[in-house]
Every structure is written in C-alpha cells, then in structure tokens.
C-alpha cells in the first residue's frame, strides 16, 4: 500500500493534468458517496475531521473510513477499488508542493521576458500569495507551511551546502576581513540601531505602542537586521555582478548567522528575566566566539571525515555522493544541537571537503554531487519563496502603520550608515579600496528573507505579545527588500555601470599566471622581509600539500600540483566535448580550432626521417587503437551483459573510459604533429586498421586513401570471429558492421588488392594532385569521425552503408 501510494506520487509529475483531473473526479465520486456514508456514521466523520487540514482530505478520509466501516458492519462485496488518502497524505502533499515549485520554476523560464524584468523570487512569492489565496477561498485554514522546524531542518541546509560547496574560496579568503567586518560589526550595529530607535519611536505618544519594551525591540532588531543568504543568492545570481561585490554581500549574509543566533538567544533569554548586566555582555561575546568558531570546527571535522571516507569509496562509486550529503547534513544537525551556528558549520564542511573529495571521487560521482546540490538548493529556494507567500496569506496580521513604516525606513537608513561607516574604516586597510558605487551596491543588496521570518515565527506567543505585529513587520520588510530593492537593483547596476562578472571560462594562460603571481608575490614579500598574507598562504599551502593531502587523497593524486590538475581537467573537458561533437572534426574551443601545433612549433626543429619515423609512430598508435578497440568492445559487452543494482556501468571500465578519452585526444594531437613530419607524399600515417575502420563506417572516406606503405604491420581485429565470444552478445548492427569491416580487411590483407584499387580510384578522382599537407588536414578531419563512429556508435551510420557496396 505504501508503495502504491508513493508510486502514484512519482508518476504524477508526468501526467499532471490528467492526474489532477483524475483526482478531481475521484473526489467528486467519493463526495457523492460521502453524503450517503455521513448519514450512517457521523461519529467517524467527526473523528476524522480533526486529522486532515484540507477540505478535500476530509472528504476522502471520511469516504475511506466509510468504506471500511461499511465493510465491517454490513457484509458487502469485496472492494475492488478503495481509496485511502490519509495513508499517503503527508508524502503526497509534499510531492505536490515540490511539483508546484518545480513547475513554477519551469514556467518562468518559458517566459523569458517576464523573468528579465521581475526577479524569480518576486514571482515565486506572488505564486505563493495566489496559492494561499486559493486555499483561503476554498474556505480552509492555510497550513502552516513555513514552520520553523521545516525551514531550518529541511529547506535551509541544501541552499547553504550548495553555497558552501561552491564558495569561491580565493576571493572569499582575500576579502575575509571586510566580510567579517560587515557581518559582525555591521549586523551588530544594525540590530542595535534599529532596535534602539524603534523603542524610542514606540515611546512617542500617540503611536499606541508604549507597551513595547526595550528588549523585544532589540530582539526584533537583531532578527530583522541580518542579511539573508537565500534572498541575496536569488537576486545576485540574476544580476551577474562582479566577483568582489558578490562575495562581499554573500559572504556577509553567510557569516552573520553566528551574530544573529547569539543575539537572538541572548535577547530571548533576557526578555523573560529582565535585567542585563555587564557580565551578560561579556558572556554574550564569549558565546559569540563559541558559536561561530564552534560551528566552523564542527563543520571542519565533518568535512575532514567526509574527505577521509571518500578515500576508500573507489569500489562503491554509487554511494559516494551520499557520503558527502550525509556528512554535511550531520554537521549541520550537530551544530544545531549545541545551538552553534549551523550555517557556518555547513559552509566550513562544504569548503573543507571539496578539494579532497573532488580529487577522490570519480568524475561521474562529482557530476552527481553537483547536480544534486543544484537541484536541491533550487527546489528549496523555490519552496521557501512560495511558502513565504503562503505564510503571508495565512498568518494573523497586526498592521501598525507606524511600526511597519518605521521598521522599513530604519532598516534602510541603518544599512546605509553601517556600510558607509564601516567602509570608511575598512578602506584604510584594504589594498583595493571600495568605491562609492561598490558601497551603494553592498548597502542596497542587503536583502532580508525567510530566515528572519522563521526566527520571528519561533518566538513564544506568551513571552512576546507583539509577536503578530513583529511578524507582519518582518514580512513587510522582506517584501520591501525583495520586491523593491530586488527589482530595481538590476537597472541600477546597469545605470551605474558597475563592473559585471566575466562569463568567460578560465583559460590556461590565466591559470598559469595566477600561479605565477602567487609565487612572485610570496617571493617579493620574503625579500621585503615581512610576513604578509601571501607568505602565510604559501605556508598553509605547503603544509596542506605535505601532510593533509597525503592523508585525505587516495593514490598518487595528492602529489598533483594545482596547475597540472587544472590542465588535466581541461584536457578531460575537451575530450568530452570532442566525443559529444561527434568526433574530431574540429578541435574544441579551449584548444583553438584554427591554429594547430605546427603553427607554434619552432620550424628549425629538424624533422625526423620519414621512413624511420613512420613505423615508430604507427606502431605506437596501433597500440593505442588496439587498446581503444579492445576496451570499447569490452565496454559494449559489459553494458549488455549485466544490470547491477549497485553499479551504474561495470566498475573497472568507468575509469578506463576516462583514459580512453584522453588517449583519443592525444591520438588526434599526435596525428596533427605527424602531419608536420610527413613530407613524403604517399606515406600516410594511416594504419590499415584505420583504413578499414573508416571504410567500414564511412564510405566517403574511401577516396582519401592514397596509398599504403608496405612496411606497416597490420593488426587483425576480429570483431565477429568465433575466438571472441563476446561478439554474440553484441548489438546486431555492430556485429554486422564488424563483419563488413573484417571481411573487407581480410580481403585487403590477403591480396593487397583492395588498397591498390583504392589508390587507383584515388587517381581517377584526381586527388593525388593535392599537396601533402592539405591532404593530411582534410583527412584528419575526415578520419576521426569515421573512427569515432565505428568505435562508439554502432547504430546510425549502418543503414545507408548496407546497400552501398564499396568494392565493386
């Protein structure tokens, strides 16, 4: 039963409309049944009424229980179809919400014009308002969706983990002083400024707020003053601001969590007790240190554990990503358990584990991790904004014009004063000063969000009689920042011509020079004889390399310097692109297409003698091809043979596949290089296997063969011969192709006639007149797709090939 319930939820996304229709029909049907059933058993319906919180649910619940009661009391036919909504209610409703969120996300991207004007967060809040309104219209009580528990334990962690894992460490660490200043001092200032002035305003006669005390005001100030990472992320990701500003605002929003947590607990504690002594202030400071550093420590410990675990997962690749998620979540929960800053723990965990985990886990697992993080965080974010809308409709509101408007104004004013004042101090210490524009964006980007709301929601009704008014003010402030500031920040950024982020991906030259600069600056600092932050960074790096990496990274990879790792990554990406683009028709964009190796190789390099170079190269390449073919065959075999619950593809070949791609890439480069050395026409760098492979898959390539050198050893790859039993398992087409290729090869190999014929034909086409270099180039373009198609894709090219005989 449980399975059928969840199954229904799972199928649902695909047949949304039909599913909804079905649901409505069912409800209708059951609704008619209800009128009968309700009359007979009113006691049960009353009992059920307490359980569900939606109108529809009640109906179904009653109907379901009616079925049962009917069944027990009066002997009826066995119910072929029964409905038990209660059974699945909770997961079903969760799925519905998630579905709604995802569909909304999908919908906004279908209307590009809308999302270019209004930020997604605003649209989502509007959707939430609409949904809440609909529920209310249906005469039901709106469910308390933005429950603090739900928010802090389920919705927030994915977003923060995503932020922490993909945190740009370098700019973050370079600006850590500024970020901390904004996050700690700025938030404190905001909290006390807003709280204090609010209290002052409340004391003014005629506002009817004189019952508000100082401590609740300060508590409110501390809740409202924290910049919210969710809102900041949502808006800043759309405006593509430059890295410095992004990290300043975003880093502040992450790190101010500790301040908020401490202030919140402090004020909550004392608003019951009353007096605050200087001792409490000292305790508060200590508490702040413990909360923030403790959070970081917890996160770092779990991060190291995760990294250490990932060292040993090479045999269970499938659950690799899970370790990371679970460890991070546990870091968050452990920190929350001690009321430490969970956000900081998550950030620390993500940032600590990333470099090591990335080196350990397989490429696929890494992709999985990336996708899962992005998926979870984007769904959470969507849900949070929708829930904000729903909660706005749901909550009881106590609107007080003075309080709300004063809150909004004070927040703006304190933010501006705080940022300007702090920048004035910070700029004295910064090498790169913050300009007025920067200050404006930092001040204007201080958006408030759902964290503030959830904290307000947590407040005790009995202790804080003004809770409703606080919540209303918080919601108004959130709406103000998200709608007004969020919508205007993009035009303002354009108007002020604030520097935007460069979208271009990192080039290898930049990477080289980044490294070079690091070492250079460290060196200069050493010569100057004072220990600046480059010096310490260098020390840390060396320590990391020497000890930590050795412990946490499996195999030999810990020795790999960053530059080499970057190079490998780039190479790997190119290999993937190469395969995806359907073969080596053109080299992918990172290594440029129009310039080949020969353009930068010094010409004076004496070209090796063609006769001697050729066999050598060919032999090496043959080995490669042989390996490629072999591994590929095995791959096909593996794929067809087994379905394994615990592995995606057969494990040993998963890594082999990467090697294969790299080899492929090298092969192509090798060919390019070869074309340099081969000046003798007629001596083509084409092994018979290649010819055959090409012939088999691409008849057009036939014309490109000019001649074959006799000294080249041939290899026989018997794809369909009885010696290789795997061929039985292979796809039909593939064996067919193999058979044709092989038969051709045999013919060629046996008589050598085929090749000569090929040469003849070439002459007929008049292709011999081509200069060698060009011929090579054209071939390089042509042969790779042929090889690729033959190797990787047994399918599509076979059809037309079947009816075209290439040997008369």
């Amino acid at each position: 039963r449980v399975l059928s319930g969840t199954g229904y939820g799972g199928i649902h996304p695909i047949f949304l409309e039909r599913g909804l229709l079905l649901l409505v029909m069912l409800i209708f049907l059951e609704g008619t049944a209800l009128t009968l059933g309700a009359a007979s058993s009113p006691d049960i319906s009353a009992q059920d009424n307490t359980g569900g919180h939606e109108h529809l649910d009640d109906h179904q619940g009653i109907a379901g229980s009616n079925d049962r009661t009917n069944y027990t009391y009066t002997k009826k036919a066995f119910p072929v179809l029964s409905l038990d909504y209660h059974h699945i209610q909770v997961p079903f409703e969760i799925s519905l919400w998630v579905l709604l969120a995802s569909l909304m996300k999908l919908g906004f991207h279908l209307i590009p014009r809308l999302s270019s004007i209004v930020p997604e967060s605003c649209l989502l809040i509007v959707v939430g308002l609409l949904v809440g309104g609909l529920i209310k219209l249906a005469g039901e009580e709106v469910p308390p969706v933005l429950d603090s528990n739900l928010f802090f334990l389920c919705l927030l962690p994915p977003i923060i983990l995503d932020a922490g894992y993909f945190l740009p460490i370098r700019p973050f660490m370079e600006n850590i002083g500024t970020i901390l200043m904004f996050a700690v001092v700025g938030t404190l200032w905001n909290a006390f400024f807003v709280g204090g002035l609010l209290y002052a305003v409340c004391q003014i006669e005629g506002t009817y707020l004189s019952q508000v005390e100082l401590l609740p005001c300060l508590l409110f100030g501390s809740i409202i003053s924290a910049v919210d990472p969710v809102a900041v992320l949502a808006v800043f990701e759309e405006i593509h601001i430059n890295e410095l500003l992004h990290i300043l605002v975003f880093g502040e929003s992450l790190l101010n969590d500790a301040v908020t947590v401490v202030l919140y607990h402090l004020f909550e504690e004392y608003s019951g007790a009353g007096e605050v002594t200087p001792m409490d202030v000292v305790l508060g400071v200590i508490c702040f240190l413990i909360v923030s550093l403790g959070g970081i420590a917890v996160g770092a410990i779990y991060g190291i554990l995760a990294a250490f675990t990932s060292r040993f997962t090479s045999h269970t690749r499938v659950i690799e990503p899970l370790f990371m998620f679970v460890y991070s979540y546990m870091a968050y929960l452990s920190a929350e358990m001690f009321h430490l800053s969970g956000i900081m723990a998550l950030i620390a965990c993500g940032a600590v584990m990333r470099p090591y985990v990335e080196a350990n886990i397989s490429h696929k697992s890494h992709t999985t991790v990336k996708y899962f993080l992005k998926m979870w965080s984007s769904v959470s974010e969507t849900l949070i904004f929708i829930f904000l809308g729903v909660a706005t409709v749901a909550g009881p509101h106590a609107w007080n014009w003075t309080f709300v408007s004063v809150t909004v104004i004070l927040c703006l004013v304190s933010r501006v004063i705080g940022v300007v004042g702090l920048t004035f101090i910070i700029n004295k210490f910064r090498i790169v000063k913050l300009t007025t524009k920067d200050q404006f964006i930092v001040a204007y980007g201080g958006l408030r969000g759902a964290i503030a709301f959830s904290l307000g929601y947590l407040l005790d009704k009995d202790l804080f009689p003004m809770r409703t008014m606080f919540l209303t003010a918080i919601i108004t402030e959130i709406f103000f920042t998200v709608f007004v500031q969020g919508m205007t920040i993009k035009p303002l950024v354009d108007l002020l011509a604030v520097k935007k982020k460069q979208e271009a991906k990192r080039s290898i030259n930049e990477e080289i020079h980044t490294q070079f600069l690091d070492h250079l600056l460290t060196g200069i600092e050493d010569i100057c004889g004072h220990y600046g932050h480059h010096h310490w960074k260098d020390k840390l790096n060396r320590f990391n390399k020497k000890y930590i990496k050795k412990c946490l990274i499996a195999g030999e990879r810990y020795k790999e310097p960053q530059l080499i790792a970057f190079y490998h990554k780039m190479e790997f990406k190119q290999a993937i692109e190469l395969v995806e683009s359907g073969g080596g028709v053109k080299l992918p964009s990172a290594v440029p297409s129009q310039v080949s190796m020969q353009n930068i190789q010094p010409k004076k390099l004496p070209p090796p003698v063609a006769e001697r170079a050729l066999p050598q190269f060919t032999k090496g390449r043959e080995e490669e091809i042989r390996k490629i073919l072999r591994s590929n065959l095995q791959k096909t075999r593996q794929r067809l043979r087994s379905y394994n619950r615990h592995t995606l593809v057969a494990d040993p070949f998963e890594d082999g596949w990467n090697d294969f791609l790299l080899k492929k890439q090298r092969l192509i480069e090798l060919e390019k290089k070869m074309s340099n050395y081969l000046t003798v026409p007629g001596a083509i760098p084409d092994s018979p296997t290649m010819c055959r492979a090409r012939l088999a898959s691409d008849p057009n390539a036939f014309y490109n063969i000019k001649a074959s050198s006799d000294g080249v050893p041939t290899i026989q790859v018997d794809l369909a011969s009885p010696q290789s039993p795997d061929s039985v398992n292979m796809l039909n087409e593939f064996s067919k192709e193999g058979a044709t290729g092989q038969s051709l090869g045999q013919r060629e190999g046996a008589t050598g006639l085929g090749q000569r014929e090929g040469a003849d034909r070439d002459e007929d086409q008049g292709l011999m007149m081509k200069p060698a270099g060009k011929g090579e180039k054209g071939e390089g373009g042509n042969k790779n797709p042929g090889l690729m198609r033959c190797l990787s894709d047994p399918g599509p090219s076979n059809e037309d090939e079947e009816d075209e005989p290439f040997l008369p």
């Binding site: 790169v432 080039s507 290898i508 930049e510 250079l520 790999e560 080499i564 190479e571 440029p592």
Partner: protein
C-alpha cells in the same frame, strides 16, 4: 632597533619618494631591510638574495631574483643584467608592487596595468627580443612545476604547448599550416591577460610602521640563518 637611523630626515629619501611613490616610512623600512640583506654594504648581489631562507622553497626563485638585476625594470631604458644593485634600483623594482591609489582615472589605471604586465613580461622574456617564445614559455611552466617532482617535466611541456596554442588562436585567429607563430608579443600578452585584474592583484602591502617586535624576531632568525650559511660557505 634602527628606528632612529631610518627616520626620513635624510634628504635622499625625498628624491626616492618622488621617484618611486613610497612614503618615507616605507622607504625607511625597506632601506633597513636592504642593509640587512646586503650586510651593510651599499649594493646588493644575487647571493644576498639567494640566501634568504624563505625564498629557498619558492619555485620561481631564480626568476624573481633575476628580475631585481634586470636593467629593463629600472625605468631607464637599459637592457641586460647587472651584477649588483643600489638601494635606489632595489626600490624601483619594488615599486612595481605598490598598490594603486583609491581614485584613479581610466588612463592611470591603464598605465599602471601596462607597467605591471611589462614587469611580468620581462620576467618571461629572458632574451629580451620582445617576444616570449615557446621555449621561454616552457621554461616558465617548468619552473612553476619544478617543485612537483618527476611528473612535472613532461606535463609542463604539454601545458606550455596548450597555453601557447591558446595564445596563438586568441591573437592570430586563423593560421595557415605553413605560417609560424614566433611567440607572444607584449600586445598579445596584454590581450590574453585582460581578464586578470592585474592592477588590483599584483601588489603587496608595504609596511608603514616599523613593527619592531616582529622585525626583531625575524631579524635574529635571519641573522642566524645568514651566519649559518656564511659558516657553511667558509667551511
């Protein structure tokens, strides 16, 4: 120690300050360091820099030291290398690493940018022919990776090749197979590094105040090291 003798009352400091843009205090601190490195001589030799213990594990140590003895970095249109440098030249080289001022016009920014990049370019272009050839570039990458053991050398070549290909394609566009890209000129160098905000990155914090305590500790350490090194040499 030394706070008095480095006070900016010496008239030559004013000259230097105008020339290099350092403040008097900074010049004072750097001068002290210079004296310390050169063992109270007026000029600094390569060996003096070679023996700085912190520098010994820097993979590009030789390039950094060479840069101090490269006439191109002295703002005097000279070429070639020298054997020893005076304090003024030391300061001029150091001034390449000064942080930019808060409010610069676009032109000033561009000038500073070019200056800093020129310094880098000169470090790569060892034979001073105006281009970084493939050989030179390979050398740079090899040096960068020289701390990573055996696997560095081959990969370094590959990386340099890939980087060179990238430069060629960015700066030349399409090339015929028989064309030859000689190397990176300074204009191309500017182009490929346009995304690195060099003017905000290639600078270090020069101390304004004499952090005597710290310096003492470091100095004593340094002296100890120098002594040890000297003794070893003598032995």
């Amino acid at each position: 120690m030394g706070a008095l003798q480095s006070l900016p009352d010496e008239p030559e400091y004013r000259d230097l300050s105008e020339k290099t843009g350092f403040s008097f205090e900074q010049i004072g601190i750097l001068h002290k360091r210079f004296k310390q490195l050169s063992h109270n001589e007026d000029t600094l030799r390569r060996d003096d820099l070679n023996t700085i213990p912190d520098l010994s594990c820097n993979p590009i140590r030789t390039q950094i030291i060479e840069a101090f003895f490269d006439k191109r970095n002295f703002h005097q249109n000279g070429e070639g290398t020298v054997q020893e440098i005076s304090f003024e030249e030391f300061l001029v080289v150091m001034s390449h690493f000064r942080p930019p001022a808060l409010d610069m016009t676009e032109e000033q920014r561009e000038i500073i940018r070019r200056e800093k990049l020129r310094f880098l370019f000169n470090m790569h272009d060892t034979d001073n022919d105006g281009t970084i050839t493939l050989e030179e570039y390979r050398h740079v990458v090899e040096e960068l990776l020289s701390r990573s053991g055996a696997l560095g050398k081959e990969t370094a070549k590959g990386i340099a090749d890939a980087a060179m290909l990238e430069v060629a394609s960015i700066s030349m566009g399409h090339m015929e197979p028989d064309e030859f890209y000689e190397g990176i000129t300074f204009e191309h160098f500017l182009k490929i590094l346009k995304d690195i905000e060099i003017e905000t990155r290639m600078n270090i914090r020069f101390l304004n105040m004499d952090t005597t305590n710290l310096c003492k500790k470091i100095n004593s350490q340094q002296d100890h090291y120098l002594q040890v090194n000297g003794e070893q040499k003598i032995a």
